[in-house]
Amino acid sequence: MSLVSKFVHTELPPDAEALRQEVRTWLATELAGMPQVLRAQSWMGFDAEFSRRLGAKGWIGMALPRKYGGHEMGFFHRYVVVEELLAAGAPVCAHWIADRQSAQLVLRYGTEAQREKHLPPICRGESSWCIGMSEPDSGSDLASIKTQARRDGDGWVLNGRKLWTTNAHNCHYMIALVRTSDTGAERHKGMSQLIIDLSLPGIEIRPIRDLSGGEHFNEVTFDDVKLPADALIGAEGDGWEQVIAELAYERSGPERILSSVALLNTLIDAVGPSPTAAQAQAIGRLVGRISALRAMSIAVAGQLAAGESPVWEATCVKDLGVGLEQELPEIAQLVTDIEPRVGGGAAHAQVLAYITQMAPSFSLRGGTREILRGILARGLGLR
């Protein structure tokens, strides 16, 4: 079967759908009065208390086994909850990475002790995680990383630097891709993933201001950090394969479609119930594309639920999704005459300013457009 025909239509099952109204009702109260511009932060909005309350509802780690604090619900139950959180603009950042991929990683590759230690707090919404891949000299060329962990008795000693680590300053743990042996020319080998407790001595976390003045990503420096033996997750030397497997989770979720949904919302309301033909066409086109992307994303979720590893399909969803997210502020400019505002202004002006400034990052984080298209081309047999 060709890769494109793997997008087979998948309906969310009724028992997963049954959750949706409950989530909406709960969020309506939780987020009452929350300004649109804060909702627009989407999965960048950090609120540890909110994550705890969400955890208490049982809506984090939903697909995980009960014995680790999870709820053994299907993959699709999680999908429903997550897309409703994003659509409402809930501040999910505190548990986002942990729920989306770290917990999956620990479940899949972790030892029993690691699972027992890490999964229950994640499910309670108390444990925040970040991803340490990029470094000063290693962006797209991830396999060139230099941060290194040396064996030291039972444990490890870590030296190096991670860059652009989203949310590291608020997190308890980082899952880092590091070099654990020098394999020379075979550079994809010799890498491993480590779980790093960010409270350990020798770790310095420096927030980096982004162009909008916000502080979300960080530089994290490791200076002779002593790590216990159980910092290693999965097999030594398998880090690259583990990272690749994670990407299907990272790239296909609803957050690759809904990062700028707040702007669609304010645009629709700014235009009002009597749009011009051009406004209606622009909005209708967006609505059509979002529903098509959602169908694709759910098809990928179906593949993940079936235990497949749809890396090509997830990459396809991400590249298309960020394209849409980035086009949204351009389209808003095209069909309304409203100036962006970072101070004062009405909801649409504020959200327009915020999303316009964030948009360039959408096709950088999680792999650049060029890298994604390279992956697609490889899958198609072009390279």
Binding site: L264, N265, P275, G284, G288, S291, R294, L320, L382
Partner: protein, 348 residues
Amino acid sequence: MREMFESTIDRLLADHVDPALISRAESGEWPAELWAAVEETGLALATAAEEHGGVGADWGDAYVLVRAAGRHAAPIPLAETLLANWLLAQAGLEPLAGAATVADGRGLNMQRGAVTGRLAGVPWGASVRHTVTVTGGQSPQVAVLIDAGASATPGLNTAREPRDDLTFTHVIPEAMAPLPAHLPPDVVMLGGAMIRAGQIAGALERLLDLSVLYANDRVQFGKPIAKFQAVQHQIAVLSEHTASAIAAADAAFSAEGEGLSAFRIAAAKVVASEAAGAGAAIAHAVHGAIGFTYEHALHYSTRRLWSWRSEFGSQAYWSERLGREACAAGSAGTWPAIVSGGFSAHVR
């Protein structure tokens, strides 16, 4: 049933449809042998009711037939016939023997059971015996019109597929029954847009296959052009458009419940129509001059895409329709509509 449909139709069309056959169809010859082969499989009756000798398949299964027809650039009204027979089944009427077509008949005048007026751009209108239409104003009827009773002005789309204007003067339909309540009077527009979206998805699949093959084959600067990153990325984008059209059309065909999902069809036609234009442009760019010749088969697919995207409502038509509903529903109603596949329960 999908798998069975898919393998049957794919084999049949691969055996019969080649550039020579498409060319003959373009010069006005009805591909009788191809149609006879389709009829022999019973697939022309796939969507007809079982009690009338049909298969009783739903659109979710019939999707692969429509997509394959698009993939192979089959110059026959297979998708139209499936829609015609489905509509007849919905109205409790018998399916038609032979190829048939459909037309939106809301502009026709119906008086004392006789139909007067013009149907514009009817696919294969003058080549097939019957047009199934929905007409009748306040009490809409599904009506079977005999095309011989009309005066026909021939027309051709960019793929030189017949798109004929049929004018009827006091013609009594061969069969007629009230449109069931779960179907809207514009059901032919909806069904037509859905089948075109499915055909577009298929034609894009063909473009993707051809482009990958050609890029690996054509050597310039001492290596296959597939090795140039700019070419790789263009084809990657083509694959994205193809995947979107496939998924959006599948969602429309697979909508649950009786009737058709106006929302999903609108979304599918918006997305597929855009993908059609963008995809055709990339495929031609990759193929260079050879792809611009009549000799090369690429244009059989691209010329279809350039018309299919506008037929039964262009991207402008469907996006405006969807956008007006979104604006009327406001932001509070739009996300729920995306999730449930409709702006309100009755529109579906």
